[in-house]
C-alpha cells in the first residue's frame, strides 16, 4: 500500500511520510491515494521545468530535498551560478569527420585560439559566422564550414542551467557523443539539459564545453 504525503511523496507508511516525515492526514472515509497519482504529478510540466540541478530527477512539489540524490534545493541557489561556453577546435573530431567533408575544401584551422563566451540571457544562438551581416550574427559565431547558419540554441532553464536544441542543422549536433533533440515546427521538443563539463560537438571541428565559471 502506498500513501501520498502532503509533499507528494509516495510513502509506504500510513502515519508519517517515510521520506520527509510529514504527517499524512489519514481520513478513514477517504480511500488513500495510490501511486499512479504520484507518477502523474511527477511528469507534470512544473516538475520537469524544475529538475534537481545535480541529478536531474524531477522535483516533486516544493520539496526541500531531491528524492533521488538528496540535493538540498535551498543550498546556494543554482541561479547564482554563472555558466560559460568554451569553444575549441578538435583535431580528433576533424579526423573522424574528414571523410564526410572530403568533397568540401575544408582545411583545419591552424591559427585557432580558444574562445570563451559568458552565457547570459534566455537564449544563446550558435551558428556559422557570416562576416558580412554582423547585425544578425549568432551570439556564438563559429568559423567552421560544417556548422549551419542557425545551427543550435542554448536555452536557460528555470534553475539557471542551460539546455541545448538542434535547429534542424545540416550536419547535426551531439552532446557527449549522444544525440541532441531537434526542434521542428511540427511538435515542441524539450531541450537537452547540460551539466558542468558537457561537450557539444558540431561542424567539422568544433567542440563547445559548457561549464560553470
Amino acid at each position: 500500500m502506498i500513501f501520498l504525503c502532503p509533499k507528494g511523496h509516495a510513502s509506504t507508511t500510513p502515519d508519517y511520510c517515510d521520506q520527509c516525515g510529514d504527517p499524512i492526514a489519514a481520513s478513514p472515509a477517504q480511500p488513500t491515494q495510490v501511486l499512479p497519482v504520484v507518477e502523474e504529478a511527477d511528469t507534470s510540466q512544473a516538475a520537469r521545468l524544475n529538475p534537481c540541478p545535480r541529478c536531474r530527477s524531477p522535483r516533486s512539489g516544493d520539496d526541500r530535498f531531491c528524492e533521488a540524490c538528496g540535493y538540498d534545493f535551498l543550498s546556494p541557489t543554482p541561479a547564482a551560478v554563472a555558466w560559460e561556453a568554451v569553444v575549441r577546435v578538435d583535431t580528433g573530431q576533424f579526423a573522424r569527420l574528414s571523410d564526410r567533408f572530403a568533397s568540401a575544401p575544408a582545411s583545419f584551422p591552424t591559427d585557432h585560439v580558444e574562445q570563451r563566451f559568458a552565457l547570459d540571457g534566455l537564449r544563446v544562438r550558435i551558428g556559422r559566422s557570416q562576416g558580412s551581416r554582423p547585425e544578425t550574427a549568432p551570439e556564438i559565431a563559429l568559423h567552421d564550414p560544417g556548422v549551419s547558419r542557425e545551427h543550435a540554441i542554448l536555452e536557460r532553464q528555470r534553475d539557471g542551467t542551460y539546455a541545448v536544441l538542434d535547429l534542424e542543422s545540416t550536419n547535426g549536433t551531439t552532446v557527449n557523443d549522444g544525440p541532441v533533440p531537434v526542434r521542428t515546427d511540427k511538435a515542441p521538443v524539450d531541450p537537452l539539459p547540460l551539466d558542468d563539463g558537457d561537450q557539444i560537438r558540431l561542424g567539422a571541428w568544433t567542440t563547445i564545453t559548457i561549464r560553470i565559471r
Partner: protein
C-alpha cells in the same frame, strides 16, 4: 513470538530554528513464552585455567564449582560445551569438537570433567573465543550464548589477534564476561562484552561465583527471541547524531549501524528475555516553520523481518518558549547518567596518571550526579575512592589508600545506570 512494547519519552517541541531532537525510547519485552516456543539455544562456559587461578586456590575451586552450577542450570535439549582456557582453548567437555545436547547423563559427565580441571598455562582470550565460535558454528539457527571467566590479562596474544577473533565472532554469539580477582584488565573484558553484546562484571570473592553463574545461565535460558535489531529511520536531510543503550548499562551503538537504506539503519541488540532496556537517540533535523510537525525518527524492533514493536519520535516547531525550553525528565535523567559514567572513567584515568586535581574534580562531579539521580550503588563504589564532604556540591577528597578491587569495581560498573525515580 515475544511481546514487545516500546515507549518514547521526549519534549517534541523545538524552538524557532531548533534542530536537535533528543528522545529516550524504553523497550520492554514480556518474554515468558512457553518452553516449546522458545528458540533453541546453545551454551558454552569458558573457564580460565591459567596457572594464576591457583593464586589463591579458592579461585580454581570457585570456578569449578560455579561451572558445575552453571551446567546444572542448562535445560534439557540445549546444546552445550565447556572450554578450558590457557594460552590456547581446549575442550573440557565433550572430548571432540562439537556441542552435546543437555540431559541428565551429559550434564553429570560434564560436571565430572570439570571437577578434574587443573590450572596451568597462560592466557589468550582470543583463542578461547575462537574455539567457542567454531563450536557454535556447528549449531546454526540457535541462540548462542557463552560465559567467559578469567582472572588475568590477555598476555599470550596481541590486541590485534583478539580484535580479529572478535570481528569474526560478532553477531554469531553473545558473551557475558566475568573477571575474578584484580589481575584482569577491565578495558579488555569490556571490549569483548561490548562487541559480543554481553555484560561485564567483577567477581571480587570467588565464593560469589556460583550465584553469579547461575543467574547468567538463567538469564540466557530465558531468552524468548533470537537476535533482535533496533531499526532506526530518520527523514531526508536529518542526521542521527548518536544512538546508545542507556539502561541497564550504557552501550554506544552509533558506530554499529548496518545500513538498510539511505534513511534507515539497524543496530544489534541481541536476544531478549523478559527484560526492559532504554535507549537514548539524538537526531539533528532540518528546522521547519512554526507550527509544522515532523516525524524525526521511527524506531522499530525487528527480529528478521518481523516487527516486534515500534515507537515514534516527533518534532513540532513552536515560538512558545515555555514549551520548547522544557527538558524531558527521562532525557535529563539519562543525560546525567551518561555524564556520570564519563566522569568516573575520566576521574579514574586522571587518578592513574597522577593528575589529582582533575581526578578530584571529575569524581566530585560523579558523586554529585550519583547523589542527584539516587544511584546508590555508584555512590557506594565512589566512596571507596573518595571521601565525600558534601555530595550536593560534589566536594570530595581523594583517598590515599585505595584497594585495587574497589577501583576495578567502580571502573567495571561505571556504565551501569539506574532508572528514573518515580515521582521526582
Amino acid at each position: 513470538m515475544s511481546n514487545f512494547a516500546a515507549d518514547v519519552y521526549q519534549n517534541h517541541y523545538l524552538s524557532v530554528d531548533g534542530s536537535q531532537v533528543n528522545a529516550i525510547v524504553t523497550v520492554a519485552s514480556a518474554g515468558g513464552v512457553e518452553a516449546a516456543q522458545q528458540p533453541e539455544a546453545a551454551e558454552i562456559v569458558i573457564v580460565d585455567t591459567s596457572g594464576s587461578m591457583y593464586l589463591p586456590q579458592t579461585k580454581i575451586k570457585g570456578a569449578r564449582e560455579a561451572t558445575s552450577v552453571a551446567i546444572d542450570c542448562i535445560r534439557d535439549g540445549v546444546e552445550f560445551a565447556v572450554i578450558a582456557g590457557t594460552d590456547h582453548g581446549s575442550l573440557v567437555y565433550p572430548h571432540e569438537v562439537r556441542l552435546v545436547s543437555a540431559s541428565e547423563t551429559t550434564r553429570s559427565e560434564a560436571k565430572r570433567a570439570v571437577r578434574r580441571l587443573k590450572a596451568e598455562g597462560g592466557t589468550a582470550l582470543g583463542s578461547w573465543l575462537k574455539l567457542a565460535g567454531r563450536l557454535f558454528d556447528t549449531a546454526p539457527d540457535r541462540v548462542c550464548h557463552a560465559i567467559l571467566l578469567t582472572d588475568g590479562e590477555n598476555e599470550h596474544e596481541t590486541p590485534a589477534q583478539l580484535d580479529a577473533v572478535l570481528a569474526a565472532c560478532e553477531g554469531h554469539f553473545q558473551c557475558d564476561c566475568r573477571g575474578v580477582g584484580t589481575d584482569w584488565k577491565v578495558s579488555e573484558l569490556r571490549r569483548i562484552a561490548s562487541v559480543l553484546l554481553g555484560t561485564v562484571d567483577i567477581i571480587a570473592d570467588p565464593a560469589d561465583m556460583a550465584a553469579d553463574f547461575r543467574s547468567m545461565i538463567q538469564t540466557a535460558m530465558g531468552k524468548a527471541t533470537r537476535s533482535v535489531s533496533m531499526r532506526v529511520w530518520t527523514p531526508q536531510g536529518a542526521r542521527l547524531a548518536f544512538v546508545r543503550q542507556v539502561a541497564p548499562t550504557i552501550e554506544e551503538l552509533t558506530d554499529r549501524a548496518v545500513e538498510v537504506n539511505a534513511l534507515t539503519a539497524d543496530y544489534p541488540t541481541g536476544a531478549w528475555g523478559q527484560e526492559s532496556r532504554d535507549y537514548h537517540l539524538c537526531i539533528n533535523v532540518q528546522p521547519r516553520n512554526i507550527g509544522d510537525e515532523m516525524l524525526a525518527g521511527r524506531v522499530s524492533l525487528v527480529e528478521g523481518d518481523e516487527l516486534l514493536g515500534q515507537a515514534l519520535i516527533k518534532a513540532v516547531w513552536t515560538d512558545d518558549q515555555q514549551l520548547s525550553t522544557k527538558m524531558n525528565r527521562e532525557v535529563a535523567h539519562y543525560t546525567g547518567q551518561e555524564e556520570l559514567a564519563d566522569c568516573i572513567q575520566d576521574g579514574l584515568e586522571a587518578r592513574q596518571a597522577g593528575d589529582h586535581p582533575t581526578a578530584t574534580f571529575k569524581l566530585g562531579r560523579a558523586v554529585q550526579l550519583a547523589s542527584e539521580s539516587g544511584n546508590e550503588d555508584k555512590m557506594k563504589l565512589l566512596q571507596g575512592l573518595v571521601e565525600v564532604d558534601d555530595a550536593a556540591t560534589g566536594t570530595v577528597r581523594l583517598r590515599r589508600e585505595v584497594a585495587d578491587v574497589d577501583e576495578m569495581a567502580l571502573d567495571t560498573r561505571s556504565t551501569k545506570t539506574v532508572r528514573v525515580r518515580p515521582g521526582t
